[in-house]
Symmetry: C2
Subunit: 244 residues, 2 copies
């Protein structure tokens, strides 16, 4: 929140979930304060998502408050999980489980600890109505480990959609010139097309064109993306653009 | 939202606002959909922040919907701003102002266009009660230009606080071992201390320790940070850590 760290965890989680057919609707970042975290969790649950993933706040320090915030948000007691304690003890080996280390095994009642292959703190999986709620650690490789273990063994409702994206670059066409064509192709193909300006609109226009979509039929989706990309490339070339 | 782009704009805005004494409370990322953007703006305004900054959605394409979303969220009409039109025309020079280009001058009634020195679309500044609402473009250098122009000439309520942060690195001490000391120093100095694990807790512990705080008195703040850092470094060295 002070700009010290860029939220690359959100990027990873969004990309991974998108790749298996989820549509990410919202990403929220809040301070390490119980009230702020509780409010954000509650607001998210009110939207009844299939999946809610949090990252950070599962470690041993005073500002690691996610388990407590989850308990408050869900109205559940905090209890020491035997399974989590077992996972944590196995990491520390002969070292004593001090209070701050035991803290990582204190989870909302009914939570399932998710193994962390890259660190100590287990992830926390809670079924809240139809929502799968997963809390992952904030250290990137630990977040990735917990997310993968969750997707592999615990995720209840895998989307029945395939996702695919393509992109190409075009030099020499202003975004404002391409815009009307993009609008009509979005309608024609029912795809998401986004032009990312990588140069300067006025004196060195350079665009990255991203085309993406979802479908229940993988073959149909690929064919639709290919047609759309071919038509858009032709338009760019026809306007004098250099397609890369 | 699909993980194609990491939100470095949020990092920049948070760091810049923190540096002048603001406390960033929440960062929200939503899809390019009117309903989602409107809901996020309304939820933010309900918290009555001194400042709300958005980024993205001001350009010429079909998915640039921020001006429209602001109008809906605030219950204001969209009107063509003469000043914005003048700024945009000056960029395109002799080129015709096509509909998609004029679109960038269509702002919620009462909005003030903020000059963009690095691109075409002006920023949008709206006073909503006590909240300064600033919409910036999504292209990073354009966002930065609009943000700086806004902070220099338009910001109403500059925080009366100074912010300072320091950090050091320590090798050989587990986060779970340092945690109780961090907790007591946070209380003693009323500062924010965060340990960022950069190594591995168990076999190669390596922490970046960040200490930060705000105060109305710059000298007092610096002295307090220095004392806290010195005490924490001593603790680390006393426990056999290698401080870098």
């Amino acid at each position: 929140m002070n700009g010290h760290t860029t939220n690359t965890n959100a990027t990873h989680i969004a990309r991974r979930l998108t790749s298996i057919g989820f549509t990410v609707k919202r990403i929220v970042t809040v301070m390490d304060e119980i009230g702020e975290i509780v409010q954000a969790i509650r607001e998210s649950l009110e939207r009844s998502p299939a999946l809610l993933v949090t990252s950070g706040g599962l470690g041993p320090t005073y500002d690691d408050k996610t388990a407590e915030a989850l308990a408050v948000a869900l109205g559940r007691r905090l209890v020491e999980s035997e399974e989590a304690l077992r996972q944590i003890q196995s990491k520390y080996g002969a070292l004593e489980l001090t209070p701050v280390r035991r803290k990582m095994a204190t989870l909302p009642e009914g939570a399932i600890p998710i193994p962390n292959n890259s660190g100590v703190a287990p992830g926390i999986y809670i079924q809240v109505g139809g929502t799968d709620l997963l809390a992952t650690p904030g250290v990137p490789r630990e977040m990735e480990s917990v997310l993968e273990n969750f997707l592999l063994s615990f995720l209840r409702n895998k989307p029945a959609l395939f996702y695919e994206e393509r992109s190409f670059k075009v030099r020499g066409i202003m975004e404002s010139v391409l815009a009307p064509h993009v609008t009509s192709l979005v309608k024609k193909y029912n795809l998401y097309i986004k032009t990312h300006p990588r140069g300067r609109e006025l004196n060195e226009p350079y665009l990255e064109v991203q085309i993406a979509g979802s479908s229940k039929d993988k073959g149909e989706l690929s064919a639709r993306l290919a047609s759309c990309e071919a038509e858009l490339r032709d338009i760019c070339v026809g306007m004098g653009g250099i397609v890369e």
